[in-house]
Symmetry: D2
Subunit: 382 residues, 4 copies
């Protein structure tokens, strides 16, 4: 409730600021017997890492260190604490904003809530998207655990500027967008690079829509009536900085649709199926076993190289501000990894609530299945 | 976690099925000293009640009975249990669907999760939107408490079929949509009635987009980083049956927008303000004090008078089904009240978390302010 | 957190006051498929009911009514609401204490916390032990579920006045104390009746120590490091009105004991066992599978027919008070049922957390096993 | 729920094992504006630290490092992560117990729950009392915050072996027991040293009873009916390794007492008071404002230098074990600090729930008051 924890049985607690010593996460509820290494975490972190010309130029190694909960290469059932040091903070860049809250950022909200005198203005402090590195670290564990049911979560940029990918691509294309510098499917990569490059040169930023597919999700996830799967997915995804919308299945275009247009035949082929999966894999708030399909909206980051009007906190008079930090022209590019992680974390928590992933202990066999699938998963798209 | 409770300090727990004895809610966390009567609850319930030709023809009085937590007309600080009896269930209508799960409904999800043999098929049982009467009952208390800060939550149907109200209307128009049989602003009422009437005659249904405005919200609501106000609003709104999307501020159109287009000047006029409130009243997940503006998408209800393809549970063979229950051509009409309630419940909980609404006890003066504003609130739009 | 809910996966929320319309409980987290009737609940309630000369003379039928969550005699997985009406409140008895808070009772604490003007003084309102009828109703469900593992919880009065039963009796003796009017083992019944009768005639009250044994508890219950089984048992038992102490295993006599005196050999007879079960079935906060043995202390109720010194709330001057309500000379007699219920509720919650009792659905076979054992359980001691 | 977090608004999450890299804690819910340094934490840690002949000979500096949540010497409202490195682990000592679970320890419970193959046998891993260093670190923050209301928590060893201090000493004596090597009041120090020294030489261990007094507690803490202050104190104290009992006020001797013997006059001297404070500062589960008085029982540690019978995990045959690690002859000596911390943590959480300590932000004035009182507090007993 104090805000920095998420989940019920599989629970993460994050800490750390953009320009503090480290970002970290405690993952409580990992069953014993899961093989896990720093490298497993790093595999996921590198897809979120800054470092090419389409994203922030901040240089962070993002080498994670697991400091508890592991013994002889396997989890013990005890909480895992993972630390990621901040290696390339540049606090000097932030002296100007010390007394000039950035419009569109959390600055003024933190100042008002926690007090100007207590405000960590260095790169937004805790409100920086740097915090999300902790989520991706935890998300790596969640993704591994989901492989027990062969469940895979993958996302891509579906729309940004005048790019809009109408049809949901096939799953392998989506998964392999992780190798793209602009995190979209191969056939649209050049188009998106042009868009981002143009925006970057203008010193501007652009929003985006991200689509996430969950392949082979367990059925029966979700607790009526308030902890529905759709509710908890919405919550976890909206907690990402810059996310301003969530929809699944037909989503917002529903206002134009008739019931007769969204009829979806139930049939049986050994299990209950839906002919068109119009509901995006969730009915009554509970997963049906069909692929889960959801979309989120990222706003354009407010950090742009254009003069912005704000307040000087020293005298409460109008002033102007030009952001000079290192920023992402389109935060959604690195945001896809974060969104995948939030979905994975939510699915694992609900899988434990429903008894589908063991909460306490993995058998040796389960552990081996996961490890094998994890190897295959890592090798995909190469 | 078991799914039927929502909230932290101001917590509701609901129970009851569509065709059971009663629907009910326990509201835990109401401070002592609030004047409250069955009539206060009923005032809100009547805006959700079925009964005109644009909504379900089910006849329910929806007279609530508070059975605990009140003494001498005021709350005691103890939990309030509120019961609303089911007076007009028609179980016979549901004999057909007993073995024919309705496509697009929660039926199959409940059958799979809880077992066909344990399934309360009468009108969807717990998954029926009838359950939401409990939320509106609790929402009435939340709405009253919000008046301590003069905060009002109001919504309307913004889009359905070929109606789309681009500009957010002024707040009084929105609030007074509660007197409309189709729950939209006066100037668009005829248009929407035509749309609904046409759909109803076709035996079809239609989706809708609902916009909710919070006037005078307290600032500083929301807990970084997971219990952001936007996250908890998304969760509570997505828990409503039929809701498939949530957005606030610029929402899903963000993918087409540049940072330079959404710059929003901060200024100071005795308090910190935003010139255009582009962020919809929430920055960094925390309320800024500007009006909160959000939208949700309702899907068209799957209960239509057209033949649908499904499975016969007796033999797992294909069959067809024509729904003959009493249903809403556009669930969003009555859904507006439910959505307002979910927003109000979330705001009160966060107000208590932030110390803005007292958790334990109202002073006599606070109690009187609320009662006076409540009278005024009830008389509006008459 | 708002205080009226307990449990994580198996969660109860209670409501109602001593002299209000009803006492009730919502039980959220009961798996589907459990056979359950009003009579099952009543079976347990009658062991807590007032009505003989050793306990309160208040006359309450305590006929429970399950109003949700049941369909065709079985649970559906949805929350169960259970109501127990108050049939014999005597509010007139309480006019005197309206302005005279009873020493040793919760009165003054409620007045200070929630306001004198909002205080439900009728029999202590919510702070009355009448509230515990809701716990026993929920406890009946918990006890049924525990039978899946053949686990039985039973308690008895171990000490009161100059009675002290040193050795823990055999389990059947303990279980059959439920048929005793003074809730102790047969061989000590006369002794305890004399003690209570004497106290009753003096218009006084007496404390007691209750011992609870859990026969065949599942092993591996308890979550390190804060949600240990011992922690959660302590919490749930201390929540009972009048309970002022908890211990398990060697408990408070430990200060006199050496490590060498409490050594307890581990051996293996198909499973890991402890020779003497000195630790009372819990090690490291986790159940070992040996019987759980714990004790709680009940204070003498403060409601006695002797003049007590208190404050007149009208003028804050000293005054005196003689309680004239109907009260228990030894609250522990009826408290044993309540304590058993709290233990059973805690064990079921932890069993679900550890995956030992299914959280979502019972199979038909599991359902039948429980029903058969429940019949046997009810017939014992007759 | 996953076991490693405690608290609602003021929440701690701990991690780390006895012989891992570090022990740590995340403290979520510290209001902004609190002055806080590594030294403040260390001040409390040193009272728990091993290092004299009456306690373990393990050498740990226990220098804490705050790695988040602080900016310019004050808290920012963001979570504080605190790390304490393990400098003196001696894993070699533990090779024997690798396959010989120690009787009376958590070993067998962990092996059964999490799997022998996943068991961190090094000094008990997570079940070691070394984990409690994290609690004392967090407790230092709680103790500072409590000074806002001038509340101080202090404990001492009340009984061990043939020492029993009948009367509760005056508060300064109790507080200054922190300077004693055996953590009891000055006048009984020699006696207790003799007892411990004798036990140590015998290679044995001894239990103890610890009494904790809360001076100037806020009134009105505690939430009916399950989150009573007594319930939450019991839970947090029972979570300490080795604690097997909790009582407050008259506690377990209640079974011998009559209601007439525990009558306690209410009077008014500007506030409501109790003449004898028989209830130990808590009535109806809510603090009365009188001193809180509670006691806990520590068992003798099972780590003794005497041969113990156990199982060889390699063949499930009986074997013997002589513990050779470094251990405390009386864990309660260092346990007093831990117990004080758990009480302080619980009180701060409840103070926030009741609005008595601000959850979000301290004013400058509040911050200064706390700092001044903290200086005075640290200087006491010198």
């Amino acid at each position: 409730m104090s805000g920095n924890s998420l989940g019920n049985l599989f629970k993460i607690t994050t800490f750390g600021e953009s320009h503090g010593k480290a970002i970290g996460v405690v993952v409580d509820g990992v069953p014993s017997g899961l093989k896990l290494s720093d490298e497993d975490i790093f595999f996921e972190l590198k897809y979120r890492r800054p470092g090419n010309k389409y994203v922030s130029t901040r240089k962070e190694e993002d080498k994670p260190q697991i400091i508890s909960g592991i013994f002889n290469g396997k989890t013990t059932g005890m909480p895992l604490a993972i630390l990621i040091e901040n290696k390339d903070p540049m606090p000097l860049h932030y002296e100007e904003i010390k007394h000039k809250p950035r419009p569109g950022h959390a600055d003024i909200a933190y100042i008002e809530k926690y007090g100007y005198e207590n405000w960590d203005y260095r790169g937004g402090g805790r409100s920086s998207a740097r915090e999300t590195v902790a989520r991706v670290a935890a998300g790596a564990i969640a993704k591994k655990l989901l492989l027990l049911n062969n469940t895979i979560v993958a996302g891509y940029i579906k729309a940004s500027g005048d790019l809009f990918i109408e049809e949901t691509p096939n799953f392998d294309e989506i998964l392999c967008s992780r190798e793209s510098e602009v995190r979209t499917i191969k056939s649209k990569e050049e188009k998106l690079k042009e868009i981002i490059e143009k925006i970057r040169k203008e010193g501007d930023s652009i929003g985006a829509m991200v689509e996430i597919i969950v392949k082979n999700p367990p059925k029966s996830l979700g607790e009526p009536v308030f902890n529905k799967l759709k509710s908890d997915l919405a919550k976890s995804l909206l907690s990402i900085p810059g996310v301003v919308g969530f929809e699944y299945g037909i989503g917002f275009k529903s206002y134009k649709l008739k019931g007769s247009e969204v009829m979806d035949e139930i049939y049986y082929d050994g299990k209950f199926r839906f002919r068109k999966n119009i509901s995006g894999g969730i009915l009554g708030g509970i997963s049906t076993g069909e692929d889960i399909i959801l979309r989120i909206a990222f706003k354009p980051t407010s950090s742009i190289n254009k003069e912005q009007k704000t307040i000087d906190m020293n005298n409460l008079k109008p002033t102007t501000l030009s952001i000079i930090g290192r920023h992402d022209p389109c935060i959604a590019i690195r945001g896809v990894s974060v969104a995948e992680s939030m979905v994975a974390l939510t699915l694992v928590d609900h899988s434990m609530l429903s008894g589908i992933i063991p909460k306490v202990k993995l058998t040796d066999q389960q552990s081996d299945i996961i490890e094998k699938r994890w190897s295959e998963f890592k090798e995909k798209c190469m």
